[in-house]
Amino acid sequence: MASKLLFDGSDWNFETISNTIIACGEIAKELKLNTYKNQIEVITSEQMLDAYASVGLPIMYKHWSFGKRFSKEKDLYKQGKRGLAYEIVINSDPCISYLMEENTACTQTLVIAHAAFGHNHFFKNNYLFRQWTDATSIVDYLIFAKNYIEQCEEKYGEETVRELLDGAHALMMNGIDRAKRPTKLSLTKEKQKQAERQAYLQETVNDLWRTLPKSKKEKVIKDDNIFPPTMQENILYFLEKHSPKLESWEREVLRIVRKLSQYFYPQYQTKVMNEGWASFTHYYIMNRLWETGQINEGSMLEFLQLHTSVLWQPEFDSPYYSGMNPYYLGFEMFHDIKRICTTPTEEDREWFPNIVDKNWIDVCLDAVANYRDESFIRQFLSPTLIRKLKLFIVTDISTADHYTVNAIHDSLGYKIIREQLANSYEIDDWCPQIAVTKADIKGTRELSIRYKRINGRSLNQSWKQVAMYIHKLWGYPVNIETDDGAFLGTVQ
């Protein structure tokens, strides 16, 4: 392929951007990428900070916590302690990626390859995103949410809405059914249902309705049942549907927060894969651009410098260590898959009999489509990579006065390390399982919330504040207990 340079030096204009997208698109075909239509938006660093603060979404309702995030990011940026992310990309159709105007032509190319092709493909193809989010309607839904909350602020006062949102935000991670498949977001359906819901919910909590005589049959069934009949781990949903005190607009606000939580849920679970795949894609595309003479040596060096400044893993005893770097781990794993497919060792043949000698692109695409971090690591983390990262397991028992090394990167340890690393990406490992077990709706209206203890861990003290929020939303006493019978306390 005889090509000429896309750009020379660091300057760029809109023609450069367009040509770069076309060139990246050509190479993306080699990777068989299947993407949403790309919408590339050029923005200023100020606007990037704005987007940052509203959790990476283009439109967001107003809340002080976003102002807090903004202040924090801005100060860090101004002090030079943190550069702005190279990219923000939105899981929408068309897929919106931001390019910052201060970036050099090379950085823009990197961002296009990374976000507009890597992330874009991931959003469109990964099963979690397909199940949990509807890319075509997210922007519309955000507009709806923003306007709705604005109206509420006008009608009921900023302070009232803030308190409600504070409570809902505290329960954001408890606004998902971890074990259940959700229905997708759809604006038209949402709006349709909204009116019905309002009327219906008002009815169900309207005291007048209780005075109507009920058929005996119905009564018997209900009295015998414990409410809710099964544990309800989606606390936001439970409060939205069953709280005796909320007004219909308050239920709608809870619903908005819950829906956003659902939108983000796949991202929490695919951080390693998503970033890994985007990095893998940009690495491939940049190298191909270089090979085909479309970027020059200077740009290539600049790219490598950018690449290595993000994709590295500090060791556990380094002052820079703050957990596994998802970019690095994911990137290395996809690279490792390519290696296993193309030049397998005896060990790889033993560990990965079903992918050796297969087309590496197909294997990678299959992984992107059908796995999340936890299953991806459980399936594809190879002994080679464990050795490269020199992974080991340290067991920390809070009552002991020492840590114990439980496994290292040797033949005895590979499987244990792989399992353990996979486990640590299970949502239960970093976010406690909390569920509503009982709501005494016929009597005292007390609500019981249960924490499922794993590995003997306790909740940290902030549970008291969260319980306070639940209490505010529920309106009656809230009991917090653990599944092994410990009673943590009551908020009333």
Binding site: I22, I40, Q47, E315, G323
Partner: protein, 418 residues
């Protein structure tokens, strides 16, 4: 794959986050006010942003999370060097070297963020006010302002409200079902039968009886006159710039006046005039730039400044329609021969002003210091005496730059809150 669009959003309005920031500042107001109002280290001459620390428990966003110091944690870590399976590592209580989980559950430390000068001053001045500002308003001539006050059914033709009248006409025509021209045209276009002819005639007749606009529809704009209370006020900033005022004293005085200036400008905008007066052994009016940056020097006659103020009041600010305020800053090092004259002028001024702040900048020797005589000047004594007689006079002493903001807040804090 060539399906894409590139959009230049750089011209889009920035500051999308401003409402969020305002909400954040509002949310943290309690802590912010505390910090700002109690901190003596504020510096309003600094144009840049200010770092303000907020106690984290006020603004944290709680969620259910693990206590990372409890239970069992199996951590997968990179970079093993010498460890073998079964090795035991002493826990170092001061060192969290092994990190927490897989990078999850980061804890929030103290939250420090910066607010800009505007936000800072707004909070600093928020609860302050000029005392007794309304005292003279009833005496002053009231001005009248005409304001819109809805509609009425009668009035002069020029005040007909066309839109409102047209709305009424439209409603009336709908209500009376005035036949539309189009309907008649449509009928006329049809075949001419007797029936249709009759119908057309009926419609035309109806149309004639329902006028397009009726006197009933007409609405006139109504205007009311509203009395605007006249709260005219003037603030005299009187600064001693004589030779005895050292750099430090001048710095303190300027900071004081800068606060006064910013405070009046922010809270009262154009309602309060500010007159700057500098004095040595003679006094002159000047503009703000000259006041803050100009250099003159000489001996000290406080009475010269007071005379200048009295003259200006006589010439420009009739006592019966202006609220008068004075803030004076001096080191109190007056020529003793001038003290009598000073007192005389004060006796004339104090009964007519709303509020007189005498701010003495002393040389920094603590007045309670065991080894030194009380270093108060004779002017201070005069002032203290007068303060007992006149409630409008307040005397303060400032020794250090750090006292400026707290003392300033004291002066302008409404009395009930003191």
């Amino acid at each position: 794959m060539t399906d894409f669009i590139v959009i230049d959003r750089r011209k889009n309005p920035t500051g999308k986050n401003l409402p969020n920031r305002q909400r954040f500042i509002k949310h943290t107001k309690k802590w912010l006010s505390d910090k700002i109002k109690k901190s003596p280290h504020g510096d309003i001459t600094d144009q840049g942003d200010k770092d303000i620390g907020i106690p984290v428990d006020g603004i944290n966003e709680p969620k259910f999370d693990y206590d990372y110091d409890s239970g069992i944690w199996d951590k997968v870590l990179p970079g093993n060097k010498e460890f073998q399976k079964g090795d035991q590592i002493e826990k170092d209580k001061n060192n969290n070297g092994t990190g927490k989980g897989a990078g999850h559950g980061q804890s929030e430390d103290d939250f420090v963020f910066s607010i800009n000068r505007e936000e800072y001053l707004d909070i600093l001045f928020e609860d302050l006010e000029l005392p007794d500002l309304v005292k003279k308003t009833e005496k002053a001539t009231t001005t009248w302002q005409t304001v819109r006050a809805g509609f009425r059914t009668w009035g002069p033709p020029p005040s007909i409200d066309i839109l409102r009248s047209y709305k009424n006409s439209l409603g009336r025509r709908f209500a009376l079902a005035k036949p539309l021209d189009k309907k008649i045209e449509d009928l006329e276009a049809e075949e001419e039968t007797e029936e249709i002819k009759l119908e057309i005639e009926e419609l035309k007749r109806k149309r004639k009886f329902i006028p397009w606009i009726d006197p009933l529809d007409i609405r006139y704009r109504k205007w009311d006159k509203v009395a605007i209370p006249n709260t005219r006020a003037v603030m005299f900033c009187l600064m001693d710039v004589s030779a005895s005022m050292g750099e430090k004293e001048k710095e303190i005085a300027k900071r004081m006046f800068l606060l006064v200036y910013e405070f009046l400008y922010r809270k009262y905008k154009k309602k309060v005039q500010i007159e700057f007066v500098k004095h040595t052994d003679e006094a002159f009016l000047c503009d703000e730039h000259e006041f803050f940056y100009g250099t003159v020097s000489g001996g000290t006659e406080i009475s010269s400044g007071l005379r200048k103020i009295s003259d200006t009041i006589r010439e420009q600010y009739p006592v019966d329609s202006w609220n008068l305020y004075v803030v004076q800053a001096t080191d109190g090092d007056n020529w003793t021969t001038d003290n009598i004259a000073t007192q005389d002028f004060l006796l004339k001024l104090l009964p007519i002003v709303q509020y007189y702040v005498y701010c003495e900048i002393s040389d920094g020797i603590s007045k309670t210091d065991f080894f030194y005589e009380v270093t108060l000047t004779s002017v201070w004594e005069i002032m203290k005496n007068l303060e007992r007689k006149f409630s409008s006079l307040v005397t303060i002493a400032i020794e250090d730059v750090n006292e400026v903001i707290p003392k300033f807040r004291d002066i302008f804090l409404p009395k009930k809150e003191k």
